[in-house]
Amino acid sequence: MTLSDRDATGLLTRPGSFVQLVDETGARRHDAEFDPWVADVDAAALGRLYRDMVIVRRLDAEGVALQRQGELGLWPPLAGQEAAQIGSVRALHDDDFAFTSYRELAVAWARGVPPEGLVATWRGTASSGWDPAAHRVAVPQIIIGAQALHATGYAMGLRWDHSDAAAIAYFGDGATSEGDVSEAFVFASSFEAPVVFFCQNNQWAISEPVGLQSKQELARRADGFAMPGIRVDGNDVLAVLAVTRMALERARRGEGPSLIEAVTYRMGPHTTADDPSRYRDDTELAAWRERDPIARVLALLDGLGADVAGLERETAEAAGRAAAELRAACLGLTDPPALSVFDHVYAEPNTHVERQRERYARYLALFDGTPDEASDEHGGAR
């Protein structure tokens, strides 16, 4: 079976020239340019990156399970992309702001979003799981590519505010075809906005291989927009950390945007509603399993003489606890009150919505004499 042979260019699926600091076997590859950016990452720090990745992988598996059990409506797995997401989010400063798509579970988690926040939208109890200002992570974006412009606008504001924070925009390989992403490049470049465009090239946009979106390495898109573009092994958490730090520092120094292409792989389906066996070969998956982002960090730590067994044990426990918390939080999310559908349509009083709310309350009252529950301005997941 040769699925999608025409479009999946070898160039893009067979990782070649990219920044790599830890190879598939866990060997440390030295790189004069990028080593300094992770000079502070000792074994303990590596252990924390490992721990992050294991926990988000476990949370992701729990999300899939909850969906399979009917507790969530949908789940977009991140499995395979742990290094890309953890490496980049751990490069952020606290006051940096992330604009993500729907798949960046690890980003939200690492920014401290509580478990119920991670599942509320997939459970369908709320339109968003957290207050963006509290975690410096925007409401996740489903409209492909739209958030690239939001990150750019936010970064323009950072510049006008003389802030030394930066913004980061996460999007996929497929998203690079949407006009919004190119327009974000234009605006960011023109206004020298402190924004890092972080493209997770996970090889697939649902059933479409990246070769259908681009016959060229995505990082090379940057040059034409007067930005540096960097291609990094997205399954190497250390390399991702290094390049993201570098790009963020560039942004902070007022030198403008850059584009990172993290070459990685979506190990699971697009979402739990997807069936990848319809469009891709098992052999491809098998090849990418060899490049697992977590295994290689463990191998590296082993080589460094760390207590790998202890780390594995402790991490597995932490991951198990996190998963249990996620499950409990999920099951604890009850349906929001009926009239909360009218909350927050507008920030200011609005005669039209108020009239509809009042009428719908009367309608509900036909059934039980009172609206089912009082409206809650802060309705939804709590």
Partner: protein, 336 residues
């Protein structure tokens, strides 16, 4: 007659269209190997090849804009928009180009583009996956807007839309994709009822209940329920939102004098507003009550667990029927 789901009926209709005219090309995201996220194009790429059933890059403006270029070249592109909420990036190409090109070129360039849009809610989906954007297009001169509600119509109407020399926005009620019905696959298109004509799906005398898409079945159920109460509802499936088949609606309303219009889209400026206003103009002297609209609220589509409080359902439609009949209803005190 074959029993087919609505989704399969569309698939067979598309297949016929591809087979009948080699200028027909299907384009969309994931429509090839995958057969579309709803499998509406399942098997068609395997049968007709990659140049007739085209997986496109992820860009709706790109899809529609290249379809315009293909129309210049004499093709009849059929574009799939993956979900209702993803049509907006292509809005400019639809409104400023697709809708206007025949007019702008003084008839020199035909734009036989069909834009298929799975639409509406009721499937517990995430945001942007349950929208009802049809009113935007019904307000856009130069477009035709049709909506199928059952397998038989779906099978015929998709072929009619593709055969039409006008651009057609073709809405498919995604929550009805899996519902089965009888389809006459042999019937000739030439004899079929034109897609611009509405269908009286349940005859009745007391109230004219007009709707389209996913709510047609709900309206039929409402008619059955009302009948038990001795109320006779005539249910009309609009099928075409632009132009609207007013003769059929008028004939009904002149008899019943009472109009209820139901749709999932918000009320403010929805298709129901146009129909209420137009039928009031046309039938004023026959009206016993102001037309009643039963619609989604004017809110962004709510999270899945709340959608049943947004979407009109059988009870809400019956409440609307009670209103138009002056029977006890949710607004009795308010409107007394």
């Amino acid at each position: 007659m074959t029993t087919l789901t609505l989704g399969k009926a569309l698939n067979r209709g598309l297949r016929n269209a591809l087979a009948a005219d080699d200028r027909v090309v299907l384009m969309g995201e994931d429509i090839g190997t995958l057969g579309g996220v709803f499998r509406i194009t399942d098997g068609l790429q395997a049968e007709f090849g990659r140049e007739r059933v085209v997986d496109s890059p992820l860009s709706e403006a790109g899809l529609i804009g290249t379809a315009v270029g293909l129309a210049y070249r004499g093709f009849r592109p059929v574009v799939e928009i993956q979900f209702d909420g993803f049509i907006y990036p292509g809005f400019d190409q639809i409104v400023a180009q697709v809708a206007k090109l025949h007019y702008r070129s003084r008839g020199a360039v035909k734009v036989p583009i069909t834009i298929r849009v799975p639409f509406g809610g009721g499937i517990g989906a995430a945001e942007h996956h349950s929208e009802s954007p049809e009113a935007y297009f019904a307000h856009t001169a130069g477009l035709r807007v049709v909506v199928c509600s059952n397998p038989a119509d779906a099978h015929v109407m998709i072929q009619q839309a593709i055969a039409s020399d006008d651009p057609v926005l073709f809405f498919e009620p995604k929550r009805r994709y899996h519902v089965k019905g009888e389809v006459d696959e042999e019937a000739s298109l030439a004899d079929a009822k034109p897609m611009g004509i509405a269908t009286v799906v349940t005859a009745g005398d007391d109230v004219t209940l007009v709707t389209y898409g996913g709510l047609v079945q709900t309206a039929k159920d409402a008619a059955v329920a009302a009948a038990e109460d001795g109320i006779s509802i005539e249910v009309i499936d609009l099928r075409s939102l632009a132009p609207v088949d007013y003769p059929t609606l008028e004939a009904s309303l002149r008899r019943t004098g009472r109009l209820v219009i139901a749709h999932e889209a918000g009320q403010q400026g929805g298709v129901g507003a146009e129909i209420a206003a137009s039928l009031t103009e046309r039938c004023f002297d026959f009206l016993e009550h102001a037309p009643v609209r039963v619609t989604g609220h004017d809110i962004p589509y709510p999270p899945a667990k709340l959608e049943q409080h947004h979407l009109p359902d059988l009870d809400r439609i019956l409440d609307g029927v009670d209103r138009v009949l002056g029977r006890a209803n949710s607004l009795s005190e308010v409107e007394a």
